[in-house]
């Protein structure tokens, strides 16, 4: 995906295959049309009339060019910024001219005005989208650091090392395996997390993480996995699942003296990947919940932000309390490709 591989300080074209980009372009051009109509006809009612008439000229080239840009997205991605911009503007102008010729019988607007509107519309929307992208770019550069900070709970690291030490004499092989799991986990935590990764890799990472937690917590942690329908080739931002599972253990299992059930279910329906993680919910203030941890939304906010950076409006993250269970649901588009 272009939006994550770019150098954050250089200009880059928006990703025309992103729903958010397409939606912004659609709304933006129509708002420009409305503004033009208002400028022409100061009277509100007549301006609306004029706008409705102008849609005959606006919508066909707009939708066609968005469709063409969707198709040409990989090609545009390889082009330098300014020539690519010119190409987009030229495309809009050409399609607008063609539309003007086709509908000249019902809408009498001069070719010059159509061309100027198309060029201005395309340029303004491009400028807006580039600015929008740039506004989020510092966040992108920082995301890596933030992700790292949100991920490693020192409490987890030191308790895990302590648990491994307890195994060294009694069960050296399990101690070795646990150290290997820890190494894999930390390698993932410290790697460049701006690249999309395969779901299969993320699943193996959280299985390693769960193995470490299992060692620490023993019978208190009861993991259930429902991964048969998981689209293992789907791409997703790295380290989305692990912090969610860590939260589930930290808030759902550790504060209770009894057994805590944690469920991880990953599946897909059509072109949407669905991730569901649930854990026991401990309402603050109940008797015997002395160490209910203050809600730490850092990790959730961080995941939400990164999902937005990667998928814009196409990803959704929801949390809810369902009786005595706390549930996190994530939906992302099902995309495949080289990781």
């Amino acid at each position: 995906m272009l939006s994550i591989r770019q150098n954050p300080h250089s200009n880059a074209l928006p990703d025309f295959r992103n729903f958010g980009v397409v939606a912004r372009a659609l709304v933006g051009v129509n708002l420009l049309g409305l503004a033009a109509a208002l400028a022409q006809e100061p009277d509100g009612g007549r301006a609306l009339d004029a706008f409705v008439h102008s849609t005959v000229l606006i919508e066909p080239p707009l939708i066609t060019s968005l469709a063409l840009l969707y198709a040409a997205a990989p090609l545009l991605r390889r082009m330098p910024y300014w020539p690519a911009c010119l190409l987009v503007v030229a495309l809009a102008m050409a399609l607008a001219a063609a539309t003007q010729a086709a509908v000249s019988a019902i809408a009498d607007v001069s070719l010059a005005r159509v061309l100027i509107f198309a060029a201005a519309g395309a340029a303004l929307v491009l400028a807006y989208l580039t600015l929008h992208l740039r506004a989020y770019s510092p966040a992108l550069a920082e995301a890596r650091l933030q992700a790292l900070q949100a991920r490693i709970r020192p409490h987890f690291l030191f308790n895990s090392l302590n648990a491994v030490l307890a195994l060294v004499r009694s069960d050296p092989r399990r101690a070795e395996r646990t150290l290997e799991d820890l190494a894999d986990l930390f390698r993932a935590l410290m790697s460049d997390n701006r690249k999309l990764v395969r779901l299969a890799d993320e699943i193996s990472l959280i299985e390693r993480y769960a193995a470490i937690e299992q060692l620490r917590l023993g019978d208190r942690l009861r993991m259930s996995w429902d991964l048969d329908q998981a689209p293992v080739d789907a791409l997703l931002p790295p380290l989305i699942l692990q912090p969610l599972l860590e939260n589930a253990v930290y808030h759902g299992v550790e504060p209770a003296t009894g057994i805590g059930d944690v469920l991880v279910r990953i599946g897909h329906s059509g072109d949407r990947v669905r991730i569901h993680i649930e854990n026991p919910w401990h309402a603050a203030g109940g008797a015997g919940t002395a160490s209910v941890r203050a809600g730490n939304h850092m990790a959730l906010d961080n995941i939400r932000e990164r999902l937005m950076l990667f998928f814009d409006a196409e990803a959704a993250l929801q949390t809810r309390v369902d009786g005595a269970r706390y549930c996190v649901d994530i939906e992302i588009p099902y995309r495949t490709g080289p990781a």
Partner: protein, 267 residues
């Protein structure tokens, strides 16, 4: 090295409290490693605060190795309840990573160990704990405050060798009488020895002062009644509480603060 029989008699009795089984196993291993330096025997172990309250008093433990992050009741609150025992153990806190707690202990010079625990540090801490004995309650309360520990979940009523816990959530009102404070719950009464002022400060969100000697649970307030004066007393307001029949007088001085607790009521 002393003979085994002698060693067993002099051995320092250590109680281990940690919610993670591997952590308890590790501490036992290290305790065995330092046997040559400090003679110790394991007096008992527990996986959460409530188990410690149950098991420790009868164990005869002299030192408690106490994890701070435990379910049910954290180490910091637990330490405060144990402080009232007649033979309260010396406490060595053990923590994986808890910045506030560590700072609090440094401030109060209580001993603490970081996980993973090193043999030398454990030996030194045990020797020091044996010399120093139990930490006074007031200092534990101070450390809890410095550690920004959340308010306690329980009040504790200490008999000589037993601790009874009263959930703070059950308490309807607290009334100071001479040396003691009476805790009133729907089920009965308990006496504790703590200054009312400090309880008021620790649980400012939960209790409101209605009178010089009385705190009332905000959540238990059902309404107010006007009491007509008589020969002996002036007319005043009294508060009606959930779960107990008696009405408590509200002092004129506290009335403005108290009446705001029930915003919807028109007394």
């Amino acid at each position: 090295m002393s003979a085994p029989a002698e060693e067993a008699r002099d051995a320092l009795r250590v109680f281990i409290a940690d919610d993670e089984a591997p952590a308890r196993a590790r501490l036992k291993e290290v305790l065995a490693d330092i046997r040559g330096e400090v003679a110790v025997s394991v007096a008992g172990e527990a996986a959460n605060g409530l188990e410690v309250i149950e098991r420790l008093p009868a164990s005869g433990a002299e030192v408690l190795l106490l994890d701070i992050q435990m379910p049910g009741m954290g180490g910091i609150e637990l330490a405060r309840h144990l402080g009232g025992l007649e033979n309260a153990p010396a406490i060595v806190f053990v923590t994986a990573h808890d910045r506030h707690a560590v700072e609090a202990f440094e401030l109060n010079a209580l001993d603490y160990l970081m996980k993973p625990v090193r043999a030398e540090r454990l030996a030194a801490a045990l020797k020091k704990a044996r010399r120093a004995g139990p930490v006074p309650r007031a200092r534990l309360a101070q450390a809890a405050k410095a550690a920004q520990a959340p308010a306690r979940e329980f009040f504790s009523v200490t008999e000589r060798h037993r601790i009874q816990l009263v959930p703070v959530a059950d308490v309807v009102y607290l009334k100071a009488e001479l040396k003691y404070v009476t805790l009133r719950t729907p089920a009965g009464e308990h006496l504790i020895e703590e200054p009312l002022v400090e309880i008021e400060r620790e649980f400012a969100d939960r209790f409101v002062r209605v009178h010089r000697n009385c705190l009332v649970a905000r959540a238990a307030i059902r309404g107010f009644e006007r009491v007509a004066g008589g020969a002996e007393e002036e007319p005043h307001w009294s508060v009606v509480l959930e779960g107990v029949a008696e009405r408590l007088p509200v002092s004129r001085r506290q009335w403005p603060a108290v009446k705001g607790v029930l915003p919807e009521s028109k007394p």
